[in-house]
C-alpha cells in the first residue's frame, strides 16, 4: 500500500455504488425512465422536479449550463505541502463533485467514520437538483510552490484594478475558485460543506460570496438589483462557443487547456440607495434600455438588437450608455469580443455604515481574457453608470477542462 501521509481524501474513497443502493423505490422510478434532454440541452431530467447534469464531458458544467437559481463562489488558497498533496486534493474534489452532482446519498462509510453527508438534503432519496460544481484555478497556483509555472494558461494573470475599481484585495484572487450552482440554496449549502470537509488540510478559504438569479419578471432575462434585465445579449454567443468560450491548445497556450475557459468573477457592489433616488428616465439613459420591457431604446422588444447608428437614429442610445460602450460601435465589428455572461445577484447584508451591501457577481467565460473581457472592460472606463456601481472584489481564473472519463480527474492535464 502506498504511503498515505499525503492522502487527504480518504473520506471520499468509496465509490458511488452504495449511494445507488440507498436510493429508495421512488428514486428507482425517477432514474428508470429514458434520459431525455432538458431545456439546457445536456441535462437529464430525473423526474418532474429534478435535473441531473452529467459530470463527465469535454467541458465542465456550470459554464454554458443555463443559470441555476442559487450559487456560491468560494475562492481558496492551496495549503498542500507538495505536488503529491496537490494532486490528491484535485482527486478528492473530483470524487466528491462526482457523487454530489449525480444525486443520491453519499458513499457509505459504514461504522468506520462519521457520515460523509451533512444531511441537509435528507435521504435516502436525494435529488441532484441541477447541481454543478465548476473548479477554476488562479494565476497564483502557477507560482514557485508546485513547479507549475510552465503550465500556466497563457492569458491567466492576477486581475488588475481597472480605472473605476476600488478593490479590496482580501476579497480578490485565490489559487482556486469553486463555483457551486444548483436549483435551490440548500443543495448549494450541502455541496459546499462536503467539498470543504473533503479538502480541509489542503485548501484554506479566502473569500466567499453566495448569489441568486431572480425569476423572469414578467418574462425574458432575469433582472439584476438595479431592476434591469441582465444577460439579454447572451443569445449572441450561443452556437459560437468554440470561438468565444472554449480555450484551445496550440499557439501560446499549453496543450492541457483544451476545453477550458477563462473565468472572470467581479463582485460589483451596486449603490442601490443612490440608484433608487434616480429617475427611471435617467436610469434608462444610463443603461440604454427601457427598464420595464428590457428593450433597447432604439427598439420595442427585449429581443430587438440595439441600433447604435447615430446617423439615422440620433442618440436614442446615448453615447455614454452602458450597452453602447459595452458593444462598442456595432456588433458585427466586435464579434470576437462577445463573451458568455453568467452573473448572479448577491445580497450580503449591510455595511458598517448601515448601507445595503448588494450587487452583482458579474461572471463571464472567455476564450481569451484580453481580447474579450479586458477589452470591453476598458471601454467601460469612466462610463456614467460608474457613479452607481463599485467593483470591489473577484478575480481572474481558468475553468479547468472537463473530466473526460471515469479515470480522469479535474486538473490532470496540468500534471501530465
Amino acid at each position: 500500500m502506498r504511503p498515505r501521509s499525503f492522502d487527504v481524501s480518504r473520506r471520499g474513497l468509496f465509490g458511488s455504488a452504495v449511494a445507488a443502493a440507498a436510493l429508495g423505490g421512488g428514486a428507482v422510478a425517477a432514474f428508470a425512465g429514458e434520459a431525455h434532454a432538458a431545456a439546457g440541452g445536456d441535462a437529464t431530467s430525473a423526474g418532474p422536479a429534478d435535473t441531473v447534469y452529467p459530470f463527465e464531458g469535454a467541458h465542465q458544467q456550470g459554464i454554458v449550463t443555463p443559470s441555476q437559481a442559487a450559487a456560491a463562489y468560494l475562492a481558496l488558497d492551496v495549503e498542500a505541502a507538495d505536488g503529491a498533496e496537490l494532486v490528491a486534493m484535485f482527486k478528492a474534489l473530483t470524487t466528491a463533485a462526482r457523487w454530489l452532482t449525480a444525486g443520491g446519498v453519499a458513499p457509505d462509510v459504514g461504522m468506520t467514520g462519521t457520515s460523509l453527508d451533512n444531511g441537509v438534503l435528507g435521504g435516502p432519496s436525494v435529488p441532484a437538483d441541477g447541481l454543478t460544481i465548476t473548479v477554476s484555478v488562479g494565476a497564483s497556483l502557477f507560482d514557485h510552490r508546485y513547479g507549475l509555472a510552465a503550465k500556466r494558461p497563457h492569458r491567466l494573470v492576477m486581475m488588475p484594478a481597472f480605472a473605476d475599481d476600488l478593490l479590496d484585495r482580501s476579497i480578490c484572487d485565490g489559487d482556486l475558485l469553486i463555483q457551486v450552482c444548483a436549483d435551490h440554496q440548500d443543495t448549494v449549502n450541502r455541496a459546499l460543506r462536503v467539498l470543504l470537509r473533503e479538502t480541509r488540510g489542503s485548501l484554506a478559504a479566502r473569500w466567499r460570496q453566495d448569489g441568486f438569479v431572480s425569476p423572469s419578471r414578467p418574462d425574458g432575462a432575469p433582472r439584476n438589483l438595479l431592476g434591469f434585465k441582465d444577460g439579454t445579449a447572451n443569445s449572441a454567443v450561443a452556437g459560437h462557443e468554440e470561438e468565444l468560450v472554449w480555450t484551445h491548445a496550440g499557439g501560446s497556450e499549453p496543450a492541457w487547456v483544451e476545453g477550458g475557459s477563462y473565468h472572470v468573477v467581479r463582485k460589483i457592489r451596486m449603490l442601490v440607495e443612490f440608484w433608487d433616488r434616480v429617475s427611471v428616465r435617467e436610469q434608462n439613459t444610463l443603461i440604454g434600455r427601457d427598464k420595464a420591457s428590457g428593450a433597447p431604446l432604439t427598439g420595442t422588444e427585449e429581443s430587438d438588437a440595439p441600433d447604435f447608428n447615430t446617423e439615422y437614429k440620433g442618440e436614442a442610445i446615448a453615447l455614454g450608455a452602458h450597452i453602447r460602450l459595452a458593444a462598442d460601435s456595432g456588433r458585427s465589428a466586435t464579434t470576437g469580443q462577445r463573451m458568455l455572461r453568467r452573473g448572479y445577484n448577491y445580497d450580503a447584508g449591510m455595511d458598517v455604515n448601515g448601507n445595503l451591501d448588494m450587487g452583482l457577481l458579474f461572471t463571464t467565460f472567455n476564450q481569451d481574457l484580453e481580447r474579450q473581457f479586458a477589452t470591453v472592460q476598458r471601454r467601460l472606463e469612466g462610463e456614467s453608470l460608474a457613479d452607481y456601481i463599485l467593483p470591489v472584489g473577484g478575480g481572474y481564473f481558468f475553468a479547468l477542462p472537463g473530466v473526460r472519463g471515469s479515470d480522469d480527474w479535474l486538473g490532470r492535464g496540468m500534471f501530465a
Binding site: F14, G15, A17, V18, A20, A21, S170
Partner: protein, 421 residues
C-alpha cells in the same frame, strides 16, 4: 483491510451505472415490506426469531426492513461470520418497531445478531451467504469494540492522570513560591509549566467537576480579564502576570529598585491569594480523583478530537486568552494531550482504524507547524495576532484536517453490545 478495495471503489458510477446497479441488486430488496411499511426485504430481528425472513442472495447493494417481534428493545448487527466484523449496528429498535437499513456487501457468509439489552440474551441468527462477483463499492466493516475492551485503557489513563495531577500540584506549588518571592519572570515561567501540565490533562476535564472550573475558569467574552470578578485559577494568574511589566535587569539605580519593589508588592497582593486557592483546589482534585470519577469509555474516544476542537473554538479565536497571548503554546500542549489520550487506545485502534498512521502524521504536522512559532529553548512564542493571514489560514487548515481524522476514533471505538460467543 477496509481500504484495500479503494482502487476498485474509486470507479465512477455515472447516472447510467446507478440505474444498472439499482436494477440488479436493489429492486427486489427495495420493495417496501408489506407488514412494516418500511423499505427493504423483511427480516425479523426479535430475539430467538433473529434473522427470520432472509436466507441470502446476491452480493452487492442490500436493503433490509428490520422488524422487532420481541418484547424487548433490540440492538441488531450484521456480522461477517468468519472475520466477526460488523457492518451495521442498529441500536434501540423498539418493541414492534421497524427500520430500514441499506448497505452493500461482497460475497461471503453473514448472520444477524439480535441483542435484547441488559436483561435480554444475545441471539445469533442462522448464517446466510451472498454469492456472485460484485465489483462495486461495499460497506466497510469494523471489528466492534465492547465495553470490556475499555477496561484496560481507562485504567491506564486514570493511573496516568493521577500521576499528572501530582506533577501539576508540584508545578502550582513552585508557581506559588515564585509569586511569593515577587519574581515576575520566574513566576511567568512557572505559570507556563503549570498551564501546560493542566492542558495535558485534557481528557479528564469533566472528571474534575466544579474544581475543574475553579482551576481553569472560562474567560468572559467582552470583559477585561484583569477586572473580571469571575476569573479564577490559572487564567486569573495569567491576567495578573501579563498585566505587570517586567523591569529590565541591569541598572542598579534607585528608580529600578523601586520599580522592582512595586512589581513584587503587586504580585504578593494580587496573585499570591489566587495561587494559594489554586494550590488548594489542585490538591483536592489530586486527592479525590481516582476515588469517584473515571473517564467513561465514550469520553476517551470523544476526547480524542474534542481537545483540539476546543483549540479551534477557544484558542484560535482568542477567547481563552487572558493576556499572555500564548495561543500557540496552548495548542502545542493540546496536541500532546491528544496524543496522551490516544496512547492507551492504540491496541484497540491498531485493529480497527486503518488510518491511525495518517492521524498520527497530521498530529505531527500540526505540532511541527505550531513549533515554528516557538523560539527553541525559551518561553517565547509568537502571539497568534502577529501571524499573517496566510499563517493563520494554514494553522486553521492543518488543525481542521487533524480533527477530521481524529473524529473517526470516537466512531470506530463507539462500544457496541457484543454478540454471542
Amino acid at each position: 483491510m477496509g481500504f484495500a478495495a479503494r482502487g476498485a471503489t474509486a470507479r465512477t458510477v455515472g447516472v447510467g451505472a446507478l440505474v444498472a446497479a439499482l436494477g440488479v441488486g436493489v429492486l427486489s430488496a427495495a420493495a417496501a415490506d408489506e407488514a412494516s411499511g418500511v423499505a427493504g426485504s423483511p427480516v425479523d430481528v426479535g430475539q430467538a426469531a433473529c434473522g427470520n425472513g432472509w436466507t441470502g442472495g446476491s452480493a452487492g447493494p442490500l436493503t433490509f426492513a428490520l422488524s422487532n417481534s420481541a418484547a424487548l428493545v433490540q440492538e441488531v448487527q450484521i456480522q461477517d461470520v468468519a472475520s466477526r466484523r460488523i457492518f451495521v449496528d442498529v441500536e434501540d429498535l423498539g418493541v414492534g418497531a421497524a427500520r430500514s437499513v441499506t448497505l452493500a456487501l461482497p460475497a461471503g457468509t453473514y448472520r444477524f445478531l439480535c441483542m435484547g439489552g441488559a436483561d435480554g440474551r444475545a441471539f445469533a441468527g442462522p448464517s446466510w451467504t451472498l454469492t456472485g462477483d460484485y465489483r462495486g463499492a461495499t460497506t466497510p466493516g469494523v471489528l466492534p469494540a465492547s465495553e470490556l475492551d475499555f477496561i484496560k485503557p481507562v485504567d491506564a489513563y486514570s493511573a496516568w492522570t493521577a500521576g499528572q495531577l501530582s506533577r501539576l500540584r508540584g508545578d502550582v506549588s513552585a508557581l506559588t513560591t515564585a509569586l511569593r518571592r515577587g519574581h515576575l519572570l520566574a513566576a511567568r515561567h512557572a505559570w507556563m509549566r503549570a498551564q501546560r501540565q493542566y492542558l495535558l490533562l485534557g481528557a479528564a476535564y469533566d472528571a474534575f467537576g466544579d474544581l475543574g472550573d475553579a482551576i481553569d475558569s472560562p474567560v468572559t467574552p467582552g470583559v477585561a480579564p484583569l477586572t473580571d470578578p469571575h476569573l479564577t485559577g490559572l487564567p486569573k494568574l495569567e491576567a495578573v502576570l501579563w498585566h505587570a511589566k517586567p523591569v529590565p535587569a541591569g541598572p542598579r539605580s534607585r528608580a529600578a529598585k523601586r520599580a522592582r519593589a512595586r512589581v513584587t508588592a503587586y504580585l504578593r497582593q494580587s496573585a499570591v491569594p489566587v495561587a494559594r486557592r489554586l494550590l488548594a483546589d489542585v490538591t483536592k482534585v489530586a486527592a479525590t480523583f481516582d476515588n469517584p470519577v473515571q473517564p467513561s469509555n465514550t469520553d476517551m474516544g470523544l476526547r480524542s478530537h474534542e481537545i483540539l476542537e476546543d483549540a479551534l473554538r477557544f484558542e484560535l479565536t482568542g477567547r481563552d486568552d487572558a493576556g499572555a497571548h500564548l495561543t500557540l503554546f496552548d495548542v502545542d500542549a493540546m496536541v500532546d494531550a491528544t496524543r496522551d489520550v490516544i496512547a492507551p487506545l492504540r491496541d484497540l485502534l491498531a485493529e480497527r482504524d486503518p488510518d491511525l498512521a495518517v492521524t498520527d502524521a497530521w498530529l505531527d504536522r500540526l505540532a511541527r507547524y505550531v513549533d515554528t512559532f516557538h523560539r527553541a529553548g525559551t518561553d517565547t512564542w509568537t502571539p497568534y495576532g502577529r501571524l499573517s493571514i496566510a499563517q493563520q489560514r494554514r494553522l486553521e487548515s492543518i488543525l481542521s484536517q487533524t480533527v477530521e481524522y481524529l473524529s473517526e476514533i470516537a466512531v470506530v471505538l463507539d462500544p457496541v453490545q457484543a454478540g454471542p460467543a
